[in-house]
């Protein structure tokens, strides 16, 4: 074989040889470290319990499951005001018999509290601060056991006489200044008023103690 012929074939052989070892494709890892391959549809997706956010997999929070590209609440849970998934507020505020300890049993809010108006309602017990209570509820730490007290019914309702406030937690009609129903007979020592209210001594006006907005109590 002529020399130049051999050289040509050598060059040709070199040309057609693929760049062995230069391959970057890894058939066993086509999705990178965070994602996993779904061979059924030839896509990369996050592992169970996480979702793709900006190219990164982010784990879903407690009581959440990954649904496509969103974290959804597990069955039986709902997203609360704080954005977390929690049991639905079923039973909160439901009427109950405060003399029957089990009248709220089986519900998330299984404590039957006696309202200031005398009726009963289902709520949460064993709180230590209002932040542990449903929105609008106040942790009645003055009670034993402490429980989440509902917002006083009738509070702020316009009135002309106490009959207008009858049957409400805010059963006293302050008809002189605010002309609104307020919660009467609070305890100055325990300050057993809802959040943002304080117990005010109005005895010099011949009125009972009243829960009034903080800062509104006459000196």
């Amino acid at each position: 074989m002529p020399r130049r012929f051999r050289a040509a074939w050598a060059v040709s052989l070199l040309m057609v040889l693929p760049p062995v070892g230069a391959c970057q494709f890894e058939s066993s890892d086509v999705c990178g470290p965070e994602l996993e391959f779904n061979s059924g549809v030839n896509v990369c997706q996050c592992k169970a319990g996480s979702i793709l956010v900006g190219g990164q997999c982010v784990a879903c929070a407690e009581h959440e499951i990954a649904v496509v590209d969103k974290c959804e609440c597990e069955t039986g849970f709902v997203r609360g005001a704080t954005g977390t998934c929690e049991l639905p507020i079923v039973g909160l505020g439901d009427s109950c018999d405060p003399d029957q300890a089990s009248s709220c049993a089986g519900k998330k809010y299984d404590y039957c509290a006696r309202a200031r108006a005398g009726d009963g309602y289902c709520t949460q017990s064993a709180c230590s601060a209002s932040t542990e209570c449903p929105a609008g509820y106040t942790c009645a730490i003055w009670a034993t056991p402490a429980f989440c007290e509902r917002p006083p019914t009738g509070l702020g309702q316009t009135c002309a006489a106490s009959t207008d406030c009858a049957g409400k937690d805010a059963s006293f009609c302050e008809a002189f200044v605010s002309k609104a129903c307020l919660v009467p007979n609070c305890d100055l020592g325990r300050n057993d008023c809802s959040d943002t209210f304080g117990c005010c001594d109005l005895s010099k006006f011949a009125l009972p103690n009243l829960c009034v907005p903080i800062g509104m109590c006459p000196k």
């Binding site: 040309m15 057609v16 494709f25 086509v30 549809v41």
Partner: protein, 499 residues
Amino acid sequence: MRGTRLALLLVLSALVRTPRVAAQEPVPTPEPTELDSAPAATPEEPPPAPSAPVPASSASGAPEVAAPAGDAATTASAATSPPATPTKSEPTADSVSAALVANEADASDAAGDTASEDVQAHPFEIYGFADIYFAAPFYRPNSPYAAAGLGSHTFFSIGNFNLYLSKSLDESWSFLGEVRFLYAPNGANDPANPGTRISTQVGDYADIDRPFRWGAIEVERLHVDYRHSELFSLRLGQWLTPYGIWNIDHGSPTVIAIQRPYIVGEELFPEQQTGLQAFGQAFAGDLKLGYALGVSNGRGPMDQQRDLDYDKAFTGRLEAGYNGLGDLRVGSSYYRGRYTNASFPLIDASTASADRKVLEQYYEQSFGADLQWDYEKFLLRSEFAYSERWYQGGVRKVVSPGQVYPDRRRYGAYVLAGYRTPFFDLMPYAILQHYVLGHDPVLPQLDRLRAYHAGINWAVTPSVTAKGEYVYVIFPDAASLLTERDTLHLVQFQLAVAF
């Protein structure tokens, strides 16, 4: 979307966009050209002009040899040979040297101003090609093939209508532009509203607003060449990627078959790139060695105008030819680049800064090998191509919410064999293709395909080529998606003309 892509794969992008390649066989031409006798041509080969020799391709994608009279098959493999006599369809640099010499000689004898002589010596040329297509697909009416817009009916179609604009600026500098006229986007699937066809129908302001449909123009390539020597030329602009056979030779009149092979049509290498390319070739008797090296923007959503990352793509090709046993050429090509798609940067007035969001970014590399062999009336063409892309921490393209593209590896090959008979210049040919799609999320059920073609190529005249072909495509791993009735049978015809 899946359906559309499916059909595109299945059938044949060329049904909507007929093959733009020539690769195979130049049209027989009346003027034989002595191989290896002329200086190298620098420009890409255009389709053959009606009475001009047809160039074949070099490592750079530049046209080379003109076809011997009456047998284009021989010409096609002459890529290993030095460039040939200039032709009307190759107006640049040395490819037109003979014409230039003649023109210049005439010009030197003539009185006249310099401008006139220049026009004579370096004329501005317009030429091109077109093809008309007819297909008879055979599959059930609601087959996914129909999603390619083929329907299940027989149909006529205008395929390519391409014009070349070229000028040899002097003995070293030349220019070549190619544009394609399209009916698209009229009738295409609207990506913003899948399932709805785009309509370009508007009122004709020149005809009391009677309706007409406007179309589009695609710039196929546009580059300026500088030829320093046979061993070294430069090309700046948008050029066809110098790889394989089919992507370089260009134009339906010179293509043996009707459609591009899958490995070419699916662009395992980018079809075009915008950047700078160096190329050349050297000869030693019957042997030729050619090369091409390119740096470009690489692949991207708007790579003709912008590169959306700092990485420049690299392209390389080596080619060897031997004329001792017919015409034999082997070549190999390599491409590596980074694809980046990013949002348009918006200015935040509060910070006086512009920010953009990267939407997809991956690296890719491709390797290809090709073989051409012409022996008397017999010809053989074969290409292998391999392509892989990997994201390597880059942003993966979203397939659907929560799902993104995997790294992919695609590869395939085809073999084409033909024989030019003495009977009316008829050439029966056959093609076998195999293509592995590799983790395609758009077509997850289709991992690979095989296609079988049998056809006849008839060089009616030097500028008119008629083709008829039967195609059979199967998807070995797609039993869950396609039934036996979905196996594609297609009968198709094409009439291609160079002008």
